[in-house]
């Protein structure tokens, strides 16, 4: 993995994390935001500008890819690179979680 990608996305913002997580399946911007609301019971709400900016950056960096259009809305999905980045992030979160419970992280 590119050093730059790792530097920019590990760790990533909460918005980026949830967006990437939702793109394990094809989804459009507003659909992603609705899904995140549902997952977090409305605790995480991602604004239209933040959503648009994050999607364009992730597409440019190859973490997600445009798959098809539905009703004039672009659907994106996570790429292999995106899955790799998400994996690193999930491992980091597991570590934080284990350590916060006073446990030693075993990778």
């Amino acid at each position: 993995m590119d050093v730059r990608i790792k530097r920019v996305y590990v760790p990533m913002t909460e918005s980026a994390f949830y967006i990437l997580l939702c793109l394990r399946e094809p989804q459009h911007g507003y659909g992603i935001s609705q899904k995140i609301r549902e997952l977090t019971r409305g605790e995480v709400i991602i604004g239209a500008g933040t959503m648009y900016g994050t999607l364009s950056r992730m597409e440019k960096d190859g973490l997600i890819v445009f798959v098809r259009e539905e009703d004039k809305r672009k659907l994106y999905q996570m790429t292999d690179l995106g899955a790799e980045v998400l994996g690193l992030e999930l491992r980091r979160i597991d570590r934080l979680y284990a350590n916060s419970r006073g446990e030693t992280f075993n990778g």
Partner: protein, 185 residues
């Protein structure tokens, strides 16, 4: 035809939060913004007083505008004006179900990125034009000794001082916005 009014109000590139608040206030008093003529003439139309949230976005250049506007529409934002890269949106406060939902930028990382875009795409080019074009012109004019050149020089120097003041104001204000959103050094 509905009654209209035009107000003059000058907001710099660093005053977008004040501009949003002012437009919201106007709408609350029953004046809905229609359009904007540079450098600061705002045309309003009489409407029912309502609490409507106004938001200005300064997106990256080269966006696919259709997709961008579609996304904002999905979120319930009405796009109604634009000016030099700034996009104007509004949404009735009653349609936003939370404080967060009335924001277009929902985290500090994206707020800081927008401040950086404004500085890079608007402030820096203006300062460059000033330093590379206006200032050399001014200095070459100052070599003339005639009285008409003198009086022109006087007017120009006031203009230049005003511009320098504006640059300093915008620079300081953008820096303060960046720090407010945790993007400081």
């Amino acid at each position: 035809m509905a009654e209209t009014k035009t107000l003059f109000r000058f907001f710099t590139i660093a005053d977008y939060e004040e501009e949003e608040a002012w437009l919201r206030e106007q709408h609350r008093e029953g004046w809905k913004m229609l359009r904007l003529y540079p450098p600061g003439f705002y045309v309003f139309e009489r409407c029912e007083p309502e609490d409507v949230v106004y938001r200005l976005d300064f997106p990256q250049s080269g966006i696919a505008e259709g997709d961008y506007l579609q996304l904002f529409r999905d979120y319930g934002w009405e796009y109604f004006a634009r000016w030099l890269g700034w996009m104007y949106f509004r949404k009735p406060a009653s349609e936003a179900d939370s404080e967060q939902d009335s924001e277009i930028l929902s985290d500090n990382a994206s707020r800081v990125k927008m401040v950086q875009r404004v500085a890079l795409k608007r402030l820096i080019p203006l300062v460059l034009v000033f330093v590379l074009i206006q200032l050399p012109n001014f200095l070459s004019l100052s070599e003339f000794r005639s009285s008409s050149a003198r009086s022109m020089l006087f007017v120009l120097s006031i203009l230049l001082l005003f511009e320098i003041g504006l640059f300093v104001y915008c620079g300081v204000k953008l820096r303060r916005l960046r720090n407010k959103y945790g993007g400081g050094d």
